[in-house]
Amino acid sequence: MMKRICFLFYFLLIFTSSFAQTFTASTDFSSVPINQSFDVVYELKGANSTRFVRPDFEPFRVIGQQSYTGGGMTVIINNKVINDGSNSQKWIFTLLPTKEGTFTIPPAKVLVDNKWLESNSLSIKVTQAGSPSSNKSQASKSNNQSNTSKNISQLDNDEIFLKAEVNKSNVYLGEPVILNYYIYTRVDVRQYGINKTPSFKGFWSENLLDNNTNAKTTEKTINGKRYVVANIRSIALYPQETGTLKVDPLEVEAIIVRPVARRDPFDVFDDFFNDPFNFDPFSMFSPSLITQPEKITLKSNPIQIHVNPLPDGAPASFSNAVGNFTVSASLENDRCFLGENIVYNLLISGKGNLPLINPPQLQLPDNFQVFDPEIKDAFTKSNSGISGTRTFKYIINPLNAGSYTIPPIEFSFFSVTDGKFITVKTLEFNIQVFDPGNANKNSQVAITNLKDDIQYITPILSLSIFDKLIFNKLFAILLFIIPLLLIILVSIFYRKRLKILADFTLQKQKKADREARKRLKYAYKFMKENNSKQFFEQLLSALWQFISDKYVIPLSKLNIDSAKEIMKEHNVDESIIDELLAFIKECQMYAYAPTNSSVDLSYFYKRAFEFIRKKI
């Protein structure tokens, strides 16, 4: 029954192709398992249509829809080849059966020259499960016997080939080149494995694709032939040498599946007995291609890359970086004790040959020990190369306490887009290192001892005579003896003078008595003559003279008051002084007053005599 339908369909095909304008519906499968998608192709030959009315595909579900216009092309869709020799228009629907049973797809309509053309209807059997049975091979077998046999006997170069492509072939030293390997195929590739990887001499390579993931496939048409293109390898190449560098071909071993012989529809049992393991119960019912896995080796085309040297005038800080970068630096800690470390992170981010960047030199004062930096990478690989960050972690070990400045790090790179070197700088950092012995890490006012040095000189403004050492001992001794001698001399002189003075007074005192008695004698004479005035004068002069001599006081300075003072000074009894002075006053009164001679002169004489005698 099924075969009959197929034959009918085949004859129908031949019939329709005889018309100048034909509109046919076709499908590769007469029977499909449920949930297995298949394509239905509506083809309009020899005419152009502006409108296409699609049929009702119930109970199939449309999951894809495509249309093509073109002439004499070979279209490959999911490894199914659609050959046609003339100008044609195609509408392809991918259908998914949803129910079991045999269904008929009603014809579609196209509008050609204001005439509606109708295609044939298709009958599809949807089975429970299993592999779809093709009906296309039937047509091929009867139609193009010689052509297909030729295809099977030898594999054309353009059926499957390996192609290497680079994004650029003229680069600067260090500028990445993206090398992609593609398998172009029109046959089913079951498996492939890289046989021989090129050495990439003169390059530093980085694989951009993960080998574990499946190759990304696209479709591409070359010379009218449609290929499935699989990107099997993507490699970033960083040239390390200048000149023309060659990339050796890549060798890939692939297992492909392609038709080897045509199954005779009536030779099922032969086949069954010949290849019992390949027995397919469904294929028995439909004639189809016999496929067989085949191992082939593919070789890619060699590639040449011209590497130009970088222009002259690279800065000193240039460390092989080519690309576009930014740098930033940070300190994990800006203060530490001696014996601890300061961690300095230098982050270079951007796009370019990041894995090849050498650590920039950290310029530090002498008091530091810097270890080779630890490198941490965070790269993202894409088809355009490597981008991301590379972190250099410098461990700085201070050897002395103090406050220091980490100077900025210069980082230079060659910018391919600008074609020149660019230098960027990080920030400057201040760090503090504390001596664990004498400082508290968290105190701001900590004084850290850096280096010991002697104190500064004492400015001497002047030197006085007292700063002079007396070298001469004799002079020193003289300095002591001179004042001593001086004082002794003075004292001797003083003592002598005192002695003389003492002698003088003694004499005077001795004389005083004598003198007084002499004067008293004169007074006595006047008393006898009863000359009272003369008598009193003589008496007073005797008394005054006596006081003057006795107390060593000049007569001119002597009066009642001074006499009182000097006698007091000499510790004379006050009553006696008063008595004497009262007597003197009385005598003066009689001496200078107008006289009356009724005065007892002898009484005065006696008293005066007593005074003088007493005082001796």
Partner: protein
């Protein structure tokens, strides 16, 4: 009497005036300071040395010369100068600091400081710096003589006050005088010396053919016990005795660092 005091004061005054008016020394000092500032330590050293040769003996001069020696790299001479500066005035903290620094750095090794009563007596007797001590003693002496004179001859003045003045000034005079004698011995007859040569053998007897019993490094302070010819018997900071030649030592008793 007043005239005597006045004349003494006048002499003092004239002395002070004349010392301040000494422009030559002032110029020398300024020159030395600027030379030191300009890192010309040798010139500064020579200028200060000339002042010391003129008889100006002050701790600051010695201290500055010590600094100049240190800067010139002559550590043992620097130690000698600092030591001398401290002997002249124990209040020279700069010299003390620098000497401590040298000790801490290991350049200098000093004899142990006296302890107990000796230290106490030493403290008291060095309380007044040497360069002013002479004049202090002298003036106290003059005052004391005056008081005694007054006490002896001014019978009518206040004798009780005078008596106490005499007593106090006599005590002070005795103190100053003994202090002066003590410091004079310490400074001008010091037995200590600084080893000046890099490393010297300490011999068991005063001839270089005898057994070397120790090696003494530069900057060690030693005490000279006795001398025979140009050999000195010394006591090292670690209480070892031995003989060493004079030319290895800088004696503290001289005004300038010299071996003999």
């Amino acid at each position: 009497m007043k005239k005597i005091i006045l004349t003494i004061l006048l002499i003092f005054f004239c002395g002070v005036i004349s010392s301040f008016a000494n422009k030559e020394t002032k110029a020398l000092l300024l020159k030395a300071d600027s030379a030191y500032k300009a890192q010309d330590f040798k010139t500064a050293y020579q200028l200060w040395e000339s002042l010391i040769n003129k008889g100006y003996i002050t701790d600051d001069l010695y201290y500055n010369m010590g600094n100049a020696s240190y800067r010139m790299g002559d550590i043992s001479t620097a130690i000698w100068f600092y030591k001398k500066a401290i002997l002249l005035s124990k209040y020279n903290n700069n010299a003390k600091d620098n000497l401590n620094l040298l000790v801490n750095k290991g350049y200098a090794k000093l004899l142990p400081q006296p302890m107990g009563f000796t230290a106490f007596a030493n403290n008291i007797l060095t309380a007044i710096p040497y360069n002013i001590l002479f004049w202090v003693t002298w003036s106290v002496f003059v005052l004391l003589s005056l008081f005694i004179f007054l006490f002896a001859f001014k019978k009518n003045s206040n004798r009780a006050h005078l008596f106490w003045l005499i007593v106090f000034s006599a005590i002070f005079f005795i103190y100053f005088f003994s202090s002066f004698i003590y410091q004079n011995i310490n400074i001008n007859n010091s037995k200590n010396a600084i080893v000046a040569t890099q490393s010297t053998n300490l011999y068991s007897s005063p001839d270089s053919l005898s057994i070397a019993i120790a090696i003494i490094n530069e900057g060690t302070e030693v005490k000279c016990i006795e001398s025979i010819g140009n050999w000195q018997k010394i006591l090292t900071p670690n209480q070892k005795t031995g003989w060493i030649q004079n030319n290895n030592l800088l004696f503290l008793k001289f005004h300038l660092p010299q071996s003999q």
